[in-house]
């Protein structure tokens, strides 16, 4: 499903080259839930960005669903994301001054969806993530947990096969974090392939996590136990 081959990713900041990922080789199967674990700056978020085709590797290949996404043009990358990826960002990346519905439908807007389909899909995700009663509220007026549910609903609106979550519980209390973990379990049960980048210990000994990849300074230091 997701394959990284000899991935090198460098960033140039003020004429200085920083290696974010160094010679990464990895494979994630369809339906797995993988946790990328490591301290800040270890390269977890860069791994997710490469999987979502939000950036290109300096060298190496990223293959998802038999598509070499690291070679796709900008427009095809966007289309690939639109069709296959649901991304839950660390800071949610919602548009703060529009309402819940308008935020959730954002990924579908360019596809000019059929109204009936959109309404049905919207109802499904809002119900699934218990946000229906807040649908007309401006997002900046929601609590952190509610904003995260909006972000998850938005990631799910296009019914993606792959869900990527970057530090999803960083801004949540333990109760909400556990609720989010429960949501992930349900999504996995739906057959979604999920990759979570986190350093939250709550994720480390979950029985439904397929594997935990331990990262440090842009390298994978441990592939963890593979459950399925």
């Amino acid at each position: 499903m997701i394959t990284f081959t000899n991935i090198l990713k460098e960033y140039k900041i003020n004429n200085e080259t920083i290696v974010a990922l160094n010679n990464i080789n990895m494979h994630i199967k369809k339906g797995q839930l993988v946790v990328l674990k490591g301290a800040s700056g270890s390269g977890k978020s860069t791994m997710l960005s490469l999987m979502a085709s939000l950036c290109k590797p300096t060298s190496g290949e990223v293959i998802i669903k038999d598509t070499k996404i690291s070679k796709l043009s900008d427009n095809f990358s966007s289309q690939f994301r639109q069709e296959n990826i649901g991304f839950i960002f660390q800071k949610y990346n919602l548009i703060p001054n529009i309402n819940v519905i308008d935020n959730i439908i954002l990924p579908l807007i360019p596809t000019n969806p059929n109204e009936e389909f959109l309404n049905t899909r919207l109802k499904e995700v809002m119900k699934l993530f218990n946000i229906e009663h807040k649908k007309n509220i401006i997002v900046k007026n929601l609590s952190g947990g509610e904003q995260q549910r909006v972000a998850i609903a938005r990631a799910m609106i296009n019914d993606p096969d792959i869900i990527l979550a970057d530090e999803p519980t960083a801004n949540l209390d333990e109760k909400l974090s556990l609720s989010f973990i429960q949501t992930l379990k349900e999504l996995k049960a739906l057959g979604k392939t999920i990759v979570v980048a986190t350093h939250d210990p709550l994720f480390f000994n979950l029985d439904f996590v397929s594997k935990t990849i331990n990262m440090k300074n842009g390298n994978i230091i441990d592939y963890g136990n593979i459950i399925d």
Binding site: S45, S49, A52, L54, C55, K56, D74, N75, S78, Q79, R81, Q82, E83, I85, F87, F89, N93, L94, I95, N97, I98, D102, I105, L106, P107, L108, I109, P110, N112, P113, R154, N158
Partner: protein, 392 residues
């Protein structure tokens, strides 16, 4: 068939409303610019139409005697010699001049007519056919503007002209002059030729000028040349010469305004470009989020296009709408005076309805596409950067 993406348009409208203050400011400035330019062109079109109608009613040729570079009275016996030229339809001597009405601080055009003479223009002909002045010793027919001014100054039925020797000449108002255009009739007072001679103190063997009409309009230039050869001390002005000079005056004035407009429009777009090219971090972030959610660069540009088109096109329509109201309902206060020059010396007149679609097309293409480009280009630059870089 291309299906319009209403969700994208809705999102664009939402985006405009989210930046209410900024977009309202741009809208107001844009509307003002369009309003100003459109008003200028509407005034020009109206005055040109007015002048064309007036010019059409003018005689084909006007003959003025020149003396030391100044216009002086001309011998009326020259009329007979002009009539001998082949192709001349009629020739009439005119007695007319400007009479300054001190109380109101304006000039009237006093024109002498003879009931039994061939009239050189239709409006005068209709007056002489409609009214019989032959029994009256002194009479006057006034334009509506003159009538208003006189009434304001307590002259309801008559007016006292002051002759060059300082004595008064009381003349009864017989009728109101009615003509197709304001400029032609508004400031005019028609009197008998004898009265005109008396008011201006002109010798009865002389006239202010001589007008000539030609049967075949293609021969006007040739006949004008012949007259000039016959009377070298005269200035021969054709109707075409007058039309060109009128057009030149208005083209010059509207050209000046157009230059000013282009400079202000250019400055406006530079400010817009400067503001937009340093897109705020939240605007950049929003573009990054949309990219991360699967929006293509084209989708973002389309959305930005809708945003800028909605603002600029609405401003364009509103600006033009207001200019129509300003020019044709409120009669363009301030701007009209600039175009009319020393119009305070003339009675008030109304701008007649005239417009040129080509001008509106020109304003459209001079403003909207430039504005759209100035706003879209910075968004394009932000959207081609890796989304990862923007949202991190």
């Amino acid at each position: 068939m291309i299906k319009i993406n209403t969700y994208l348009i809705e999102f664009a409208i939402n985006s405009i409303l989210r930046e209410k203050t900024k977009n309202l400011f741009i809208f107001i400035v844009f509307t003002m610019l369009i309003f100003l330019l459109s008003s200028i062109f509407l005034i020009t079109a109206s005055l040109q139409k007015e002048l064309n109608i007036t010019a059409d009613s003018l005689p084909d040729i006007i003959l003025q005697k020149m003396n030391a570079g100044r216009v002086s009275d001309i011998d009326i016996n020259r009329v007979d010699k002009i009539l001998e030229i082949n192709g001349v339809n009629n020739s009439v001597s005119r007695v007319w001049g400007y009479y300054y009405f001190e109380n109101a601080g304006i000039n009237f055009s006093v024109v002498g007519i003879d009931q039994f003479e061939t009239q050189y223009k239709k409006s005068l002909e209709s007056i002489t056919l409609k009214h019989d002045f032959s029994e009256l010793e002194d009479f006057m027919v006034v334009g509506s503007g003159v009538k208003k001014v006189l009434e304001k100054n307590y002259y309801k039925d008559y007016f006292n002209f002051i002759k060059p020797d300082g004595t008064f000449k009381k003349i009864q108002i017989k009728a109101i002059f009615d003509s197709a255009t304001n400029l032609e009739s508004n400031d005019v007072i028609l009197v008998s030729k004898d009265t005109a001679y008396d008011i201006f103190g002109i010798n009865e063997n002389k006239a202010t000028d001589i007008v000539v009409n030609v049967s075949n309009k293609k021969e006007v230039a040739t006949i004008a040349y012949k007259i000039k050869m016959l009377f070298p001390d005269t200035r021969v002005i054709t109707k075409e010469d007058l039309k060109i000079s009128y057009t030149n005056i208005f083209n010059y004035k509207s050209g000046m305004f157009l230059s000013l407009f282009i400079i202000s429009l250019f400055t406006f777009f530079m400010i817009i470009y400067d503001k937009s090219s340093s897109l705020s971090s939240s605007a950049k972030r929003e573009i990054g989020i949309l990219k991360a959610l699967g929006w293509k660069t084209d989708d973002i540009l389309k959305e930005k296009f809708y945003e800028s088109f909605l603002i600029s096109f609405t401003a364009y329509i509103v600006g033009i709408g207001i200019s129509f109201i300003y020019v044709y309902i409120f009669q363009a206060p301030f701007l009209r005076d600039i175009f009319m020059g020393y119009s305070v010396l003339k009675p008030q007149f109304n701008l007649i309805f005239a417009y040129d679609l080509k001008i509106f097309a020109m304003i459209f293409f001079l403003s909207i596409p430039i504005y759209i480009s100035a706003t879209i280009f910075p968004s394009w630059r932000a959207s081609i950067v890796d989304a990862d870089e923007v949202i991190r």
